[in-house]
């Protein structure tokens, strides 16, 4: 099974440290620490587990600048066979469709049976897998939390739907799946592994390697563009409800109604 995993480097937002940069209408990135998107890490682990069971190879691909190299090496330390950094000035500012079309060109360079992405990344768009599948003309399933390889042509997957329920599908290969967290328990990548992966070869593909025209990708080809960042209003400390219990409850119910807690 030749598996292609799309990964993204994202800022670690566990600690509420996203700050806006008023100057550039963006977010302050100097102080941020980046790592692989959590969903993508599950996808890589799943790919490695499939390879361990059924053979084949795992190729991890990211569209990024030089910084993406580190994420790829980490996933290679985890067990991916190859990393490909897709990097070109022309790719900057790509929207979801742009990224998907770049990835399509990378997928088509070689033969793959299975393409995995994470369900979503930092922008919460949950779009790359679906866009890529449609561009490739391959079947697609999103929010997959179990993959079972039936044979060289078919797999069986579980999709996670509302309320903890599952949908079970049989999917023909090749196909694209977006992988949900919790599908497996990703292995730890020891620092030693990362240090050892520093010496591995990571090819870089640009527009020329992929046969893409610069106008079709990047800012030029984007139909969706981010214009501005702003912080949703939120207080530092709770607004304390005071008064008699009855008054408090009335106020609280009003608030809950407006937030969808009481319908």
């Amino acid at each position: 099974m030749e598996i292609f995993v799309c990964v993204k480097r994202v800022p670690d937002t566990g600690e509420n440290e996203i700050e806006l940069d008023s100057g550039s209408n963006g977010i302050k990135r100097d102080d941020l620490v980046y790592s692989i998107n959590e969903w993508d890490n599950y996808a890589v682990e799943e790919a490695i587990q499939i390879r361990e069971k059924h053979g084949g190879s795992v190729t991890v691909v990211t569209v990024d600048n030089e910084e993406g190299d580190e994420v790829l090496r980490r996933e290679m330390a985890m067990g991916a066979d190859r990393g490909v950094l897709v990097m070109d000035k022309a790719f900057e500012g790509s929207d979801g469709r742009g990224i998907a079309s770049i990835l399509k060109a990378v997928v088509e360079k070689e033969h793959y049976d299975l393409v995995l992405t994470g369900v979503q990344a930092d922008d919460g768009a949950a779009q790359i897998g679906g866009l890529l599948a449609a561009m490739l003309g391959w079947p697609y399933a999103s929010i997959v939390n179990e993959i079972e390889i039936l044979d060289e042509k078919k797999i069986r997957i579980h999709r996670e739907v509302a309320g903890g329920n599952l949908e079970v599908y049989e999917v023909d290969l090749p196909c694209v799946l977006s992988v949900q967290t919790g599908i497996n328990e990703p292995r730890y990548v020891p620092i030693r592994g990362v240090m050892k992966a520093a010496g591995l070869d990571v090819p870089v593909y640009g527009t020329a390697d992929l046969g893409l025209s610069p106008e079709s990708v990047g800012e030029a080809g984007a139909t969706v563009k981010v214009k501005n960042y702003f912080v949703p209003e939120a207080g530092d400390r709770a607004e304390m409800l005071e008064g008699s219990t009855e008054e408090i409850i009335d106020k609280l119910i009003d608030l809950l109604k407006s937030k969808g807690g009481v319908r």
Partner: protein
């Protein structure tokens, strides 16, 4: 020129989903003059019921009725929609598990822009639709511009828009089945096998929109009942902090936090939970947090949007009663 907006309708067992009405509001925000067509796929009486509900509020309802669609498979529906929805228009789809399966590919097949998970819209100018999205787990909002000159597929975050049921349209129901089915059910590389319902007792709090979460303040296993009562009237689920699981009062799968589940509800009631960082780590997606605790210094008040200093054992039953009263 007013836009034409299509809204794909979700439904279950003959009941239309709230998101169908939210889409009407969303469409109204995008373009108050837009004409809106609901598109519903399914089969038989259930579909008819859904179309009837939709027609009350939509100017037009398209239905695709086929036995083969009794359980909707996004891979099939996508191809059917491409056969009937003209290129260049706007399609709204709820951003949930079905929409996430359906929408991105639809945009590719319609050669339209794809805008995902919108929570609000600005106006349209110069062929560009301004929309609000959220990034980084809701920590940052972004204002994006989407070029809709070739149409767009837009997914709408459920709950972001008010369900607009007030508007009375009584639109006609147009049967689009034969047009959609021209050439038969499209062949797809994915076959639905079965639906597995979550086991009884096996609750998935990660999917809950309303969580009534209890901590040590509940004091005794027997008191859990008041939390379940409240969750019931609020249509939510009961979750908890680690000590409750440690005490084996509740199942591990209800635990929120570092070592438990990461939840992303809309509303989170932290009842008698002190708010250790290990617990708060499991709370994502910027929910509306209500903290009730008798200790005014409890750190949970730092993390909550609204705080009440009270003994939960007294407070919860009263709250439950009051909500019950209102609902009646």
């Amino acid at each position: 020129m007013a836009l034409h907006i299509y809204s794909y309708i979700l439904h279950n067992k003959g009941v239309i989903d709230d998101t169908a009405f939210e889409a009407i509001s969303a469409a109204g925000v995008i373009d108050p003059d837009a004409s809106i067509t609901a598109v519903a796929a399914g089969s038989g009486l259930d579909l008819d019921a859904v179309c009837n509900q939709a027609s009350k509020h939509y100017q037009e309802v398209w239905k695709i009725d086929s036995e083969a669609l009794s359980y909707p498979d996004a891979e099939v529906i996508r191809r059917l929609l491409v056969r009937i929805i003209p290129k260049g228009d706007i399609v709204l789809i709820p951003h949930e598990h079905f929409g996430m399966d359906l929408a991105p590919g639809l945009s590719v097949m319609l050669d339209a822009a794809y805008l995902s998970d919108a929570v609000d819209f600005g106006g349209i100018g110069d062929g560009r639709l301004s929309a609000i999205r959220q990034e980084f787990n809701g920590q940052v909002n972004t204002q994006v511009e989407c070029d809709i000159s070739n149409g767009a597929v837009i997914t709408i975050r459920p709950g972001s828009f008010k369900g607009d049921e007030g508007q009375c349209a009584n639109g006609p129901i147009v049967d689009k089945t034969s047009e959609a089915m021209e050439g038969g059910i499209p062949a797809v590389g994915r076959r639905f096998l079965k639906f597995v319902e979550a086991e009884v007792g096996e609750i998935d709090i990660t999917q809950s929109e309303v969580l009534v979460s209890v901590g040590r303040g509940i004091a005794d296993e027997d008191n859990l009942e008041i939390a379940f009562d409240l969750a019931k009237v609020m249509g939510g689920d009961v979750s908890c902090s680690r000590p409750i699981v440690d005490a084996k009062w509740l199942e591990k799968e209800r635990q929120v936090g570092n070592s438990g589940k990461t939840v992303k509800p809309k509303v989170y009631l932290a009842l008698g939970i002190s708010g250790a960082f290990q617990h708060l780590a499991g709370l994502k997606g910027n929910p509306f947090v209500v903290a009730v605790n008798k200790n005014p210094k409890a750190p949970i008040f730092q993390a909550a949007d609204v705080g009440v200093i009270a003994d939960i054992l007294d407070f919860i039953p009263e709250l439950t009663d009051k909500i019950n009263e209102i609902k009646r």
